[in-house]
């Protein structure tokens, strides 16, 4: 593994761990007032924010910048990966086995 990837893993795992610990503390204090979903959404929001901050911090270094740019692109591509159609025979078989009327 490239040193740069090791650096990224160490840094992101450190941030994730710290963040998770802190978030659990906040949840312990305020979990009675807000649902778990809110905390999960916040966590995802802040995580994305942290990722961008990391990106800004290391952008001056061309190697780090490349890692972040290509990693971000990889994630974007995953988000847009093609949906998959269920083959017609598989769909029909599923509904037949479940004894559910097909009403497409």
């Amino acid at each position: 593994m490239m040193d740069l990837e090791k650096f990224y893993l160490r840094l992101s795992e450190y941030i994730d761990r710290k963040f998770e610990e802190e978030m659990e503390d906040v949840f312990a204090d305020f979990g009675d007032f807000f649902g778990r979903d809110i905390f999960d959404e916040m966590e995802d929001f802040f995580n994305a924010d942290i990722f961008e901050e990391m990106e800004d911090m290391v952008r001056k270094d061309s190697c780090c910048s490349t890692l972040f740019n290509t990693l971000r692109k990889t994630i974007d591509l995953c988000h847009e990966i093609d949906e998959m159609e269920v083959p017609e025979d598989v769909h029909e078989n599923l509904f037949r086995i479940l004894d559910i009327e097909i009403e497409d």
């Binding site: 593994m1 490239m2 040193d3 740069l4 990837e5 990224y8 893993l9 992101s12 795992e13 994730d16 761990r17 998770e20 778990r36 979903d37 999960d40 959404e41 966590e43 995802d44 995580n47 190697c63 910048s65 490349t66 890692l67 740019n69 290509t70 990693l71 971000r72 692109k73 990889t74 994630i75 974007d76 591509l77 995953c78 988000h79 847009e80 990966i81 093609d82 949906e83 998959m84 159609e85 269920v86 083959p87 598989v90 769909h91 078989n93 599923l94 509904f95 086995i97 479940l98 004894d99 559910i100 009327e101 009403e103 497409d104």
Partner: protein
């Protein structure tokens, strides 16, 4: 996945679940229709062949049907369904010994990459456009090549876009453990795509 309340004019998952629990096959059928594509895509990408994906899809919904009475709604229906699907896939793989990678094996991803090679930025390459079918095909192949412990996490988090906690709950692992696998999985994919662009001389 928080789509439960976002079905314009359609009954919520929770309403369908309630009706299914009361014995409505139509309600359960609606849930099947709502999720069969997502579950099939997941099982196909984990099992890596059509036949096993179809079997696993069936088993998942059969189990969901048989156990719907025990679903308490502590998590969303989709999270519960994904958990059944992932467990069914992993059980099936263990049985068939398709994958010899132990879940307890330390996470490593060294695969002999040339560490002296300068990383090259392909993120703005026109070939990397998100509507490029060839790149998407390459990405699908890279996902198929990923070690199991990364693949399921990446599929649930980055492809199906479930929250970190939902993915951790589905896989019965801690959130930090899930994120650790996610970071490694993303790096694995990034490296495969870098190799692809390099091989095409696009860099």
């Amino acid at each position: 996945m928080r789509e439960d309340n976002k079905n314009n004019g359609q009954p919520k998952d929770s309403e369908l679940v309630l009706n299914a629990q009361k014995g409505s096959r139509q309600a359960f059928g609606e849930l099947v229709k709502r999720y069969e594509r997502k579950i099939y895509a997941l099982t196909y990408r984990i099992m890596r062949n059509r036949e096993d994906a179809a079997d696993t899809l069936q088993e998942t919904f059969m189990q969901a049907y048989n156990k719907i009475g025990t679903f308490e709604g502590k998590s969303g229906f989709s999270t519960w369904l994904y958990r059944i699907a992932v467990n069914t896939c992993l059980m099936k793989k263990r049985k068939k010994k398709l994958d010899t990678v132990s879940i307890d094996r330390p996470l490593r991803m060294d695969d002999g990459e040339d560490i002296n090679r300068e990383p090259v930025d392909w993120s703005n390459n026109p070939m990397a456009a998100i509507d490029n079918k060839e790149v998407k095909k390459k990405l699908d192949e890279a996902i198929a090549e990923m070690p199991e412990e990364f693949r399921t996490v990446v599929l649930l988090r980055d492809v199906d876009r479930l929250s970190s906690r939902e993915v951790a709950d589905i896989l019965n692992i801690t959130v930090p453990n899930m994120k650790s696998r996610l970071h490694r999985g993303r790096l694995f994919l990034r490296r495969k795509l870098s190799e692809y662009f390099r091989s095409r001389g696009e860099l």
